[in-house]
Amino acid sequence: MNTVSVSIPQSSVSERVKAVAAALVIGLALVYTTGFAASTSVHNAAHDTRHGLAFPCH
């Protein structure tokens, strides 16, 4: 029953791998910086967002 529909037919596999890698790196880097980075200045700048979006803070 593993009927995985291939729904992005125009793009090659390598292109998809590159796109996924780029999106993952950017997504993880941004969420890490805004939600987790230990630097005090980054923490203070992001303070209200960290609390407001339920990230662990302080």
Partner: protein, 246 residues
């Protein structure tokens, strides 16, 4: 395709982030400011007593969190008012761009067609993995609440998000019963391990305020995921058409 991923992440994150930043300004941020007033009101009075009586000094020395908070205030932080609002909004937009990129990474890796309906399902799962599941162990807190060491909480939070996300994907994408069972076990695992908590709760903020904040901040994260997902699902096909026409 990389360019399209970057453009859609940026635009969708910017749009959704702006809307949610406005929502935060009238929902969660006022509660944070109120909690800070409680925190400073209760932290300030012991100081003169400590100077007068030797006994009170023990209380001051004991409250390690106050020292940590005091040390933080020496460092740079945005000035209250417009500057703080701008930094909070920028951070929320940054988080939204990050969520949009993660959403696209997942959908492209899974080979899904990207439209608003499918993107919203991914967004809802994103909220379950990044918001609700970690929030069940580590309830969203106002400033001033007692909690375990930050690093332990962050590790538990990230582990829970990863386990829940993987579990949801396995459960929704595979038919084999043993995989579905494995998925449920993965989702339950972080909660069986248990989130790190402070040995004694000692929040200075009234429980009503904290409870209101907890549900509100989870709701705001849900709104951020759904708004981001809707923007991603709406913008992606448009970019597709524009690129086909070019």
């Amino acid at each position: 395709m990389v360019t399209r991923v970057l453009t859609v992440s940026l635009l969708a994150g910017l749009l959704a982030g702006l809307v949610i930043a406005a929502l935060q300004h009238v929902t969660t941020t006022p509660l944070i400011l109120k909690a800070e007033r409680y925190e400073s009101a209760l932290a300030a009075p012991p100081a003169p007593h400590a100077a007068l009586t030797g006994g009170a000094r023990i209380i001051l020395a004991h409250s390690g969190t106050d020292h940590a908070a005091g040390a933080e205030h020496d460092e740079w932080k945005p000035a209250d008012g417009l500057q703080r609002l701008l930094f909070t909004s920028a951070t929320t937009i940054g988080t939204a761009i990050g969520f949009a990129a993660l959403l696209l990474a997942g959908m492209i890796a899974a080979g899904d067609a990207i439209d608003p309906r499918r993107a919203l399902i991914w967004g809802a799962c994103g909220f379950l993995a990044f918001g609700l599941a970690p929030g069940m162990g580590l309830a969203p807190e106002l400033p001033g609440a007692a909690s375990a060491a930050l690093q332990e909480r962050q590790i538990w939070w990230l582990g829970t998000a990863a386990a829940t996300g993987t579990g949801l994907f396995l459960f929704l994408r595979h038919e084999a019963p043993w995989l579905k069972l494995l998925a449920v076990a993965l989702i339950l695992l972080p909660h069986l391990v248990g989130a790190p908590h402070a040995p004694t709760p000692e929040s200075k903020v009234p429980a009503e305020l904290a409870a209101h904040f907890t549900s509100l901040s989870l709701g705001i994260q849900a709104a951020l995921w759904l708004a981001t997902a809707f923007a991603v699902g709406t913008l992606w096909p448009r970019m597709d058409r524009r690129m086909a026409a070019a």
